[in-house]
Symmetry: C2
Subunit: 215 residues, 2 copies
């Protein structure tokens, strides 16, 4: 069963190739896009080893750089993880848009895209629910990415119910978001396994469940 198979996130890789002069960019003392490379390295570690194994030092190691180097790009570990979360929201948005475009029922496609993203990037999805929004000063990058991601859902709801009141729309949005978010989380934790034994088609499960939403 493929339900819980993590798939590496397609985060944009470093821009080493854009370094101007060097025939062999690896010899460059300066990296070119270490910030991006660090985020990518962190995403990879997350996908391969999970949250517990994610250390700043490990990320630097993976990016092939000294352990102090990240501090030229991120104030601290929290800031780096916040950037990783932001990249996650960008990817989540893309997944929702892609599945929406491919679905007959566009709105349901958004939900399926949400769940599929979680299944394909379990550790990242969990990281995205971390304390990066609720801390003292959420990074603008994260806020924007989270907002854009939420926007996909809200736009779809608003389009489907042009006559609904503000309040109605908000409740509908909260309910839709909740059901796909809950489904994604419970599937990830293996808590629904007893309920869908033998079924490995996440898309079908997501459709069956979201069909019960009277939105």
């Amino acid at each position: 069963m493929t339900l819980y198979l993590p798939v590496s996130l397609g985060v944009k890789r470093s821009m080493k190739s854009t370094v101007k002069k060097g025939d062999n960019p690896k010899k460059n003392y300066h990296h070119g896009d270490l910030r991006g490379a660090l985020v990518a390295a962190a995403s990879d570690i997350l996908a391969e080893d999970g949250m517990e194994k994610l250390s700043l030092r490990g990320v630097a190691r993976r990016a092939g750089v000294s352990q102090a180097a990240p501090y030229h790009h991120f104030e601290n570990k929290h800031a780096l993880l916040s950037a990783v979360a932001a990249a996650g929201f960008v990817a989540l948005r893309a997944s929702m848009k892609k599945h929406a475009a491919e679905s007959e029922d566009q709105f349901q496609g958004v939900g399926v895209g949400y769940v599929m993203f979680a299944m394909e990037n379990p550790a990242l999805f969990r990281l995205m629910q971390g304390p990066y929004f609720s801390c003292d000063e959420p990074s603008p990058e994260l806020l924007a990415a989270g907002e854009a991601s939420r926007g996909v859902l809200l736009d779809n709801i608003a389009a489907a119910y042009p006559d609904a009141s503000e309040r109605e729309l908000r409740v509908k949005a909260a309910a839709s978001w909740s059901i796909v978010h809950g489904l994604a989380t419970l599937l990830l934790d293996g808590r629904l396994q007893p309920m869908f034994e033998g079924e490995d088609d996440v898309q079908a499960i997501a459709k069956a469940v979201t069909d019960l939403l009277a939105v």
Copy 2:
């Protein structure tokens, strides 16, 4: 607004009082119920300081015992946290039953109880979604507590739809569980704050959202 105010979990406290002879139990070399006391101490630390601050040593310290003592009751840290999660599921079950009994719509009461529990025990609720079920050997205690907790939901669904097929029931259960679980998680993470600004009645929000479930 009281939405995000953590409330200490009513985990049963140590059974020191059942120690037989001692007029002053504190002088006893043996604790009486250190296992229970450790679970309680961990729950308290969780409620007060959150997951990051939860260390085995800290738990032992809080229970007033040496750092090596826990190893006479738990194989390792994972085992202790697993026991804490199990206690959490017992409390979650109680919360669902209580709210169900108090509600007009019993089934909706279950959902409200679920959400309320999460709001009152945020860190514990998050711990309960940790890797304690999906590890190699989930503890029997945890499996039983999780099963009993899920049972409240399943029983209510089955009672409400005596004629539904097995498959229908499972999908209905997954959908109900998903929507309350998602709502709880999103509220906890503050992600719904923009949607319910100024509203601090979690019960009302939970009811409005679950009303949209056509189960």
